[in-house]
Symmetry: C2
Subunit: 337 residues, 2 copies
Amino acid sequence: MSNKATIRCPSNIAFIKYWGARDLARAIPVNPSISMTLRSCFSRSTVEWLDEDGEHEIRWRAAEGGLETAPPAFADRVRRHLDFLREWSGQGGRFRVATENSFPSAAGLASSASGFSALTLAVLGALDRQVSPAEQSALARLSGSGSASRSVMGGYVEWPAEGEGEGGSECHAHQLATAEHWDLRNVIAVVERGAKKTSSLDGHRRAETSPYFCTRQACLPERLEAVRRAIEERDFLRLGEVVEAEAIDLHCVAMTSTPAIFYWRPATLLVLEAVREMREDGVAAYSTMDAGANVHVICTPESEIEVAARLSRLDLDLSLIHDGVGNGPVVEPEHLF
Amino acid sequence: MSNKATIRCPSNIAFIKYWGARDLARAIPVNPSISMTLRSCFSRSTVEWLDEDGEHEIRWRAAEGGLETAPPAFADRVRRHLDFLREWSGQGGRFRVATENSFPSAAGLASSASGFSALTLAVLGALDRQVSPAEQSALARLSGSGSASRSVMGGYVEWPAEGEGEGGSECHAHQLATAEHWDLRNVIAVVERGAKKTSSLDGHRRAETSPYFCTRQACLPERLEAVRRAIEERDFLRLGEVVEAEAIDLHCVAMTSTPAIFYWRPATLLVLEAVREMREDGVAAYSTMDAGANVHVICTPESEIEVAARLSRLDLDLSLIHDGVGNGPVVEPEHLF
């Protein structure tokens, strides 16, 4: 048995957002969320288990390809999750970890979702532990990055708010539909490559200070049901209307929190406007954003080229990532170290 | 007796916004609003009453100084208000009107507030009708531009939502404090000189479609009381915190209406951000916006120069208007025609 595993795990884009936790440390959300698992934006994580005492080693691969010591804040979160998984497994020892992202970190592209789901699955691989997808999801969630619970599965994924169980183990995502069920695309307008000023974790903490938080919760059951049905029936217009309104909602809750959180950049507004104009011209496209400045333009395969062409014509310093629904994590034959 | 009068009437900036009407045509608001009457942004209106049958003549003075036929949409609103005031006065006849603004129209600078209050007062002058400030306010309100009810008075003004009376005549503004009570300044960052895409009237119509409208209403009594007390006690920080949150609220309601209304431009976000950064450096300044892209930076006399200097240093195509609390309408000796 090898004590080393490498997993490639995709990011996901939430159609209905996780924003506000009943238990932030264990990532028990206030409301259910629904996402589409991506394919082009992913994290890769190699984990080696060593049957010896000592500190974990946590590195990441920079854009240049070399392995570097991970930044302290990120390394701390990883270390805590490794400690948790070690305790869960009952195996002792220590881990060596290296991770890399295919896309900018901490910029509203859910790098923690892909990063912590990849890490979790790679740890399971290194320990040679076979667990169900539900348990994979719950374990990824317990990293503290709740959206990681959705990234261990492909296609369209719902993460309910119920089922705390022992240690929160019952609160996990499940697949609503496979990627093959509906080929949706996501043209990501990356308007900001740097890290956002306010982390999602701080956003969750402040969410309930917004006077609109409770109103949002009251609207969500109907919105969740609309998204479930739209996915089931492949109803793009229905999906898009709800998804775009939901993203604006998330940011309104953030902007009305105390202290207020503003994630949008000037280019964010211009991309949102461009997408609204596209629709007036009959292009099937809707915007969504996570807690960040970048805009995910959800579209059909037929509209993807037009969406990208129009965004490129904007006089903006943005880069586009062509993404779409994907099949979820894969085991990689090559390791990062 | 002369049948001609010219009134110069200031715009106002709302600290608590009018957004949503119980009766839009008669401008009966859902909630009370509070504003500061300005001095540098004003409309001037000359009205002549002619004791003869025929159409009203409605012109406006363009930037070049010549009189021009007013645009049809604006002329229609003016004509309806002239008809209403003629019926109210019982005098028959017709009016000749010319009007001008000292600032860009329909760009979230409350040009309809100053324009319709100036028009109303000039009609009263041309007809030589002496009425109380309360009745002036109610008559200005009945133009359909509700915020005009606040511009007929100087200083700090509250417009309650109650008191419909006969023909809405009892729903009028009253002064909370004079301009002399508290010298506040308003550095207006004009980021967009053109007319906004969605009128305030359409905004009022859509306000109640926002799921957040009712929540906003529930928050307003506390917010109104905070603003009243802050004005009374000249408590700038208390005022500013509430005023800035209130403006964000207004735009969140707009953005979550059906159809959604987006007033912000890229430069709006950058000015909002700059003002937040000023505060971190101890500069007394808070942002507010009406239904438009421009940002009113409310500040103290001590901070005004620093606010303007910092906004000027932004790499933005914006012009600044230095405004502040003013004393309300004045009769002008010179006519526009």
